[in-house]
């Protein structure tokens, strides 16, 4: 995360620590505390036994660390009817995410390439509509999609939810690839054309090898986006393809008798783990994805 922006800071270089500098660091530390506290609370709560949680010492470290809550959250907590923990949701989320990311990034790359180099008539209008699509509230589109998927019989299946993720991911991924390919020199494309290469040859042999970094950005953006989705998973996942976020919410809202806060927190961490790991490992790409794909909101 240190290489986010190549430009240097513009502030004046201080000679020594003035009171203002101390104030500045003080404010930064206070802000950092505000951002880190919830994560800290979530982790310590998940490591406490329930009796200790009930003491209400939110910020205290666990007296005796136990991973029972984690084990329960993973394998035996109840999500509505079944009590198999959040692990089935994890498997579903992995399936949904892997397939959707592969297809949607590939589609977006082809779209961006076609829009940049093969400007057929109406391409701009098409692209304009697609970008508008990034802003259309899901609620205005979801119901017709349900009707359509019921008609062709894929509602509630893996194919159904993958299709929906590909649709809603297409505007932003297309935008990213189009901006990238448009920045490449046109001569590159023309030279390949003169050598007799066709649409797919140029795409596979010349464009994609050059687009590896931007593909990484797109993959990271889509992976976190799809993993974190709740609404589409809830509506289109049906009974068998509920993603982890939906099961997490079910675990927390389904409580017979005592609410097991430590189990809830463990399940929450497990759900957040994948995007967090991606975030911490990918740093620069993640931030680039935000800059390019902030449209996704």
């Amino acid at each position: 995360m240190t290489q986010t922006n190549p430009a240097v800071a513009r502030g004046r270089k201080p000679k020594k620590m003035s009171p203002a500098r101390y104030g500045l660091y003080g404010l930064l530390v206070i802000s950092a505390t505000f951002f880190l506290t919830p994560l800290y609370v979530m982790i310590v709560t998940s490591l406490k036994p329930l009796e200790e949680v009930r003491l209400g010492r939110l910020f205290s470290l666990p007296a005796d660390i136990t991973f029972d809550a984690w084990i329960k959250a993973w394998s035996t907590a109840c999500t509505g009817v079944t009590c198999a923990g959040i692990s089935p949701g994890f498997v579903n989320s992995v399936q949904i995410t892997v397939v959707s990311v592969l297809i949607s990034v590939l589609l977006g790359a082809v779209n961006g390439y076609a829009l940049s180099f093969w400007r057929y008539r109406g391409a701009n209008v098409l692209f304009g509509i697609l970008v508008m699509g990034a802003f259309v509230p899901f609620q205005a589109v979801i119901y017709p999609l349900i009707v359509f998927q019921r008609e062709i019989g894929i509602f509630g299946s893996l194919a159904g939810i993958v299709m929906v993720h590909c649709i809603f991911g297409m505007p932003i991924i297309t935008l990213i690839f189009r901006n990238y390919f448009s920045s490449l020199p046109e001569e590159l494309f023309k030279a390949a054309r003169i050598d007799g290469a066709g649409f797919w040859q140029i795409f596979l042999r010349i464009m994609m090898p050059m687009a590896v970094p931007i593909t990484a950005v797109a993959v990271i953006l889509q992976t976190t986006g799809i993993w974190n989705d709740y609404l589409l998973g809830l509506v289109f996942g049906g009974r068998d393809n509920q993603p982890m976020t939906v099961q997490l919410n079910n675990i927390v809202t389904t409580s017979y008798g005592v609410r097991e806060y430590n189990v809830n927190m463990a399940a929450t961490i497990l759900t957040a783990a994948v995007p967090l790991v991606i975030y911490f490992l990918s740093g620069r790409f993640f931030v680039q994805g935000i800059a390019a794909g902030a449209v996704k909101g």
């Binding site: 950092a32 076609a114 919410n249 902030a294």
Partner: protein, 294 residues
């Protein structure tokens, strides 16, 4: 003859663009039109095209839950956009003052943005728990009358949702603003220093006008996520207590699923679509379509 070869020459490109065509026209035009059309009907669980004019809209605007949802959205939207811009800008300015460990601070401010809204909602529900959360900790420290349990109050619950949303969204704005600040010409700073303009005045009267495009982008992005807010509310409050934190997005989903009233749900969805089209339409045209032609 010439036209014919041209049509064939990029045939592959056209075939490859079929998924894009289907998505753009089929989903973002036809599905939207279909939704709007259903809002003028009497559809309950299934679509039925018996047009009844604007009845559903009249019903919608006389439904308490909808008017509460809309006013919640306005309160939430104003506070969320305002605080994210303010905090995001201040954090970006602080990070831009040549500080040590900039990367660490930036990573810290941005990580909530990588989380799911469901996760954010649950964490803050837990932090705001009246018996076990922050309120209890402060009371145990001796401040007996301290009160911080917004989610139990019909008046304050929406502010609890705002806090969680600001926690998650500020990092994004900080990131965009920081990129904007780094794009400001170095000479500007030198000139301001030579003229002896105080630092805060330089920021307010020179830098902010210069990074206006970034601010506009931030406002658009934040506004879009305001209209979309759904998962956060579902996870943090479930719309409660009562209907105190209901939002339009949840109104739509609840009405076409469990409540089986597709028509009114689509009327509500159309109402959500209107401001987005009015706000974003010109912006998209400016940013993307026009630039492509230039």
């Amino acid at each position: 003859m010439k036209r014919k070869t041209r049509m064939w020459s990029n045939l592959s490109a056209k075939i490859a663009s079929v998924p894009m065509l289907v998505t753009a026209i089929g989903v973002f035009v036809l599905c939207v039109v279909y939704s709007i059309a259903l809002s003028f009907t009497r559809s309950r669980y299934f679509p039925k095209f018996d047009f009844i004019g604007f009845d559903q809209y009249v019903r919608l605007w006389t439904t308490d839950r909808w008017t509460v949802s809309v006013s919640n959205l306005l309160i939430f939207g104003l506070l969320f956009v305002g605080f994210c811009l303010l905090l995001g800008f201040l954090l970006a300015v602080m990070l831009d003052r040549n500080i040590r460990m900039e990367g660490v601070f930036r990573t810290t401010f941005l990580y909530p943005y990588a989380l799911s809204f469901v996760v954010t909602g649950l964490i803050w529900q837990w932090m705001m728990d009246p018996a076990l959360g922050i309120q209890n900790v402060v009371r145990n420290m001796g401040w007996e009358s301290f009160s911080f349990a917004p989610l139990t109050s019909t008046t304050y619950a929406i502010y609890g949702v705002v806090i969680a949303a600001v926690w998650q969204g500020t990092g994004l704005i900080m990131c965009l603003m920081l990129a904007g600040l780094r794009g400001v010409d170095r000479e500007i700073w030198k000139a301001a220093r030579v003229d002896g303009i105080p630092l805060w005045r330089t920021y307010i009267f020179i830098i902010i006008p210069m990074i206006r495009p970034v601010i506009v982008t931030s406002v658009v992005l934040l506004s879009i996520s305001v209209v979309r807010v759904y998962d956060l509310v579902v996870a943090q409050t479930g719309g409660g207590p009562g209907i105190a934190t209901e939002v339009p997005a949840k109104f739509v989903i609840d009405h076409f699923t469990e409540r089986g009233n597709v028509a009114i749900a689509m009327a509500a969805a159309t109402m959500m679509l209107l401001p987005v089209l009015l706000l974003v339409g010109p912006w998209v045209y400016n940013e993307y379509v026009r630039r492509v032609r230039a």
